[in-house]
């Protein structure tokens, strides 16, 4: 084998890392060649983050060793990793919001003369780097004023400024528009061509197929294998990741839509973060038998729109009608009993009482009904157990001890299944599902998409809010794109393209919206 002649830029050999009760990394070997883009693929909880934390010196492995250019090294903390030329772009950027791009790049390694920062020298180096790799940034712009894409380029420049040779990208595309993703792919290719070695952590198969040279797949802490992208297919990768065949497309037949279930007119919701309104005069409707998706980049008012519709935040002006009934100022309980279900964006914040048992969480929207509470206000534990067990069975919710398992100890996918079960079994007229598949593995995504389509086929109205492009393109019947608090376009997923969607999402294009 020829590979042995040139040692890997970085090699992790037989890494095993245990936590109480779980083996997060079980004998994992990963070799990163110089100048290659190496994808690390795995579901949530497969051990990707743990492995990277080991490489970064945040965890010490129980077994195994790390070699740089064939020489064993010891990485005790992130400073050691930096010294070895390992840099990382985190999923959530580590930038100081009120500093300029340049200040953020040189932070911690400021060139100085007698204690005075020599910014001129730094600026020249940054400009040279940004020209070389096509990372266009304005060095004097303040971070909070620039786009997410430019913030990411700042993060990349931070690594390059420190002369890092090994670059780790942790799910870098989650926050980007399709155009920005394309740009990032080009940047990564250019970096690799210049001899940088890139580790690309992702669970998006399309991106891996497009940009990576090789791919290592992890599943439940074990290494499944490393494959050459040239010799593999999307289907094979997903099979390696999940351990079985997965339906990647959503099947749905044509549906005749019925009456308007939810109608939103000129809705305005104030923002909690800034003084401006997060949602500005938004109008749309959802009919029975259709899935309408609110698409857009995170932070364009989707969260506040949902808060307004579900009653978590008061609306400033406008009108919300559910099945002909004005619910603009109705209480949350009233909305719920009038036929609204809500799969919340943040399942730990809103969706579950983590310290409650699974059964107590399953009756969270129903505990006050006569079936579960008698006239004297005592809970009927027997009925709660029975009801929980039927749902656990029907929705295949898996947990350690069944109905009495603490919700906190369950896996993310099963927690989400419990919420989906609870909200769907309420038999609502309208289901508001906000990022229902966020952070879930392919199997659970498949399951939840099927449930959403089932709801639609049963003649219910579904309002889906999603940040995942694949989901936006495959699940809904209509797409409404939200940009800076407004709905800027209505698209038909059958005829539109991701490029067009991206232009709307980035605010570059506006279209007519059918307000009913």
């Amino acid at each position: 084998m020829d590979i042995n002649s040139q040692p890997y830029a970085i090699e992790m050999r037989n890494i095993t890392k245990r936590f109480p009760g779980i083996i997060a990394n079980d004998n994992i070997t990963l070799g990163l060649k110089k100048g290659e883009i190496h994808a690390l693929l795995g579901e949530n909880g497969a051990g990707k983050s743990t492995l990277m934390s080991v490489l970064f010196g945040l965890y010490q492995p129980e077994e195994g060793e790390i070699l740089k250019d064939g020489v064993p090294v010891k990485i005790n903390d992130p400073n050691d990793a930096n010294a070895l030329g390992i840099g990382m772009v985190h999923q959530h950027f580590k930038l100081i919001e009120c500093f300029s791009v340049l200040d953020n790049i040189i932070l911690g390694v400021e060139p100085n003369k007698l204690g005075f920062i020599n910014k001129k020298e730094a600026r020249e180096k940054v400009l040279a780097l940004s020209g070389k790799y096509g990372l266009s940034v304005d060095p004097d712009a303040i971070i909070e004023d620039i786009t997410v894409g430019m913030q990411q380029r700042t993060e990349i420049l931070k690594m390059l400024y420190r002369d890092n040779e090994i670059l780790i990208f942790d799910e870098p595309t989650a926050v980007l528009t399709p155009q920005e993703i394309e740009e990032l792919m080009q940047i990564m290719r250019r970096l690799a061509a210049e001899g940088k070695s890139i580790l690309f952590i992702s669970h998006k198969l399309n991106e891996i197929m497009e940009v990576a040279d090789r791919c290592t797949v992890l599943r439940r802490g074990k290494m499944i294998g490393t494959v050459n992208i040239e010799d593999t297919t999307k289907e094979e990768l997903s099979r390696m990741m999940v351990g079985r065949d997965v339906e990647l497309t959503v099947h749905k037949n044509d549906m005749k839509t019925g009456d308007v279930v939810l109608s939103v007119e000129n809705l305005t919701v104030a923002s909690r973060i800034h003084k401006k309104d997060a949602v500005k005069y938004v109008s749309f409707y959802v009919r029975s038998g259709e899935i309408v998706c609110i698409a857009g980049i995170d932070g364009n008012g989707q969260t506040e729109l949902v808060y307004g519709i579900t009653g978590l935040e008061p609306v400033k002006s406008g009108k919300i009608t559910l099945c002909g009934e004005d619910i603009t100022h109705a209480s949350i309980r009233k909305r719920s009993t009038s036929g609204m279900s809500h799969i919340p964006e943040d399942r730990h914040k809103h969706g579950l009482v983590l310290d409650y048992s699974l059964e107590d969480n399953i009756v969270l929207q129903k505990y006050f009904e006569p079936e579960f509470t008698n006239n004297l206000g005592f809970l009927n534990r027997e009925n709660i157990r029975k009801y929980a067990e039927t749902l656990i069975d029907r929705f295949d919710i898996r947990s350690g001890q069944g109905a009495v398992t603490t919700a906190r100890s369950m896996s993310g996918g099963n927690q989400q299944k419990a919420i989906v079960a609870r909200e769907i079994d309420k038999d609502p007229d309208l289901l508001v599902a906000v990022q229902p598949t966020r952070g879930l593995d392919v199997g659970a995504i498949e399951f939840i998409h099927k449930k959403l389509v089932d709801m639609r086929n049963a003649g219910k109205a579904v309002l889906l809010v999603s940040l995942e492009l694949e989901e936006v393109m495959s699940v809904p019947d209509r797409i409404l794109v939200m940009y800076e608090g407004e709905i800027v376009g209505e698209l038909d997923p059958k005829t539109t393209t991701t490029e067009e969607l991206g232009l709307y999402m980035a605010g570059a294009k506006r279209g007519a919206v059918n307000n009913g």
Partner: protein, 385 residues
């Protein structure tokens, strides 16, 4: 056998009891060390005296009498710890229990001495006044986002001075103390149901069984009712409670009202026995409400547990009075009981440590068995070859 033993230690209740006992022992140990440092000669006897409390008396009738006084002082502590525990389950730290206790004491005495009300009306007045104080904290928390600890501490002092002022009008002319309840209004003394004769102590009243009944009621409300389900959900996750349509702000206010009522009720259970008169020139909030915090935690935040923890704390405090004053100063007894009470607050830390130890041991055992099986597999493989 081994498995059964493990599941025994993994039981939440067992862990709580063991953690509480460890804290008690640690507290006694550190208290003992402090005594040793101050005067090694008398330390052993002093700590034994504290532990013994009423057992130090020679005759059984005297023992029973002083057992009675410890019980009389335990009843209000049980209620204070219930007040704190109840609010804690809803995620609120009711440090204002001390003030609610103070205002309950003030109004119980004022109702008895100035208005000549019978005991049961005095109790209602006391509980109501405590509830009002709790509600103030609750409203400030729910609508103005004022931390209940801050408002509680401030209200503690406000209520102390208000009560001093109020009770000036019913105090004895020659002393700073309120008038003797038994002499002014006998109707206001809690009925004894014959308990006074059993213990040979006239202060032993229905307060003791009432405190126990209250603990049971709190347990039932928290564990068995829809109301408790809502309150605990609000405590565990305010956002989820709001999301599923629970009136989380109203729940917060009601919780602090109930907490206040329980603390005020506790004050009535103490002062309406006539065992103590209010000192109108006292400049500190009665410690009962604060000790309630320790009692609640030592009891593992369980209403039934707080009955035992409250008794223990009063037992130690009373026992402290028996320490030989020729060897140690009076403050030493308070100091040592304070150390013990302080360590009682570490119950949850102990539980956490225990859980971690169990998890680690299990992990090690698992690894060992895995290795064993792996080796066995190897051996078997070898044999097959």
């Amino acid at each position: 056998m081994d498995k059964n033993k493990k599941s025994f230690f993994k039981n939440e209740g067992v862990q709580a009891v063991i953690a509480s006992l460890i804290c008690v022992v640690l507290g006694l140990l550190i208290g003992f060390i402090v005594l040793l440092c101050i005067n090694p000669a008398g330390a052993g006897k002093a700590i034994v005296d504290m532990m013994k409390n009423f057992f130090a008396y020679k005759t059984s009738s005297l023992q029973l009498k002083y057992f009675g006084s410890t019980l009389v002082k335990s009843a209000p502590l049980v209620l204070c710890s219930l007040s704190i525990l109840f609010c804690y389950k809803v995620g609120l730290f009711n440090i204002g229990a001390a003030g609610q206790y103070t205002i309950g004491a003030g109004f119980a005495l004022y109702a008895a001495l100035a208005w000549n009300l019978p005991w049961w009306l005095c109790i209602i007045v006391a509980a109501f006044s405590g509830a009002v104080l709790g509600t103030i904290s609750g409203i400030l928390k729910a609508y103005c986002n004022v931390n209940e600890v801050i408002s509680g501490i401030m209200l503690n002092w406000i209520s102390l001075y208000c009560m001093n002022m109020l009770l000036e009008s019913v105090k004895e002319e020659t002393s700073p103390y309120t008038k003797n309840l038994a002499a002014v209004n006998r109707k206001a003394i809690l009925p004894t149901l014959g308990l006074d004769k059993v213990f040979g102590n006239k202060y032993v009243t229905i307060a003791i069984p009432l405190a126990i009944i209250m603990a049971v009621i709190v347990w039932i409300v928290l564990e068995k009712t829809k109301f408790g389900y809502e309150l605990k959900a609000t405590g565990f996750n305010r956002h989820a409670a709001k999301y599923c349509g629970m009136a989380e702000k109203r729940n917060m206010i009601i919780t602090l009202s109930i907490g206040g009522a329980i603390a005020g009720f506790g004050a009535a259970m103490f002062y309406l026995t006539g065992i103590e008169q209010w000192n109108c020139s006292q400049s500190s909030v009665p410690g009962m409400g604060f000790n309630g915090i320790a009692a609640a935690f030592l009891g593992g935040l369980n209403p039934i547990g707080s009955i035992f923890s409250s008794y223990f704390i009063q037992h130690i405090t009373e026992g402290g009075a028996n320490v030989d004053l020729r060897v140690y100063s009076r403050q030493i007894a308070d100091l040592v009981s304070a150390i013990i009470i302080y360590l009682c607050g570490f119950v949850f830390f102990m539980k956490y440590v225990m859980k971690k130890m169990i998890a680690k041991r299990e992990e090690a055992a698992k690894l060992a068995t895995e290795k064993e099986t792996a080796e066995e597999d190897k051996n078997e493989g070898g044999e097959n070859k």
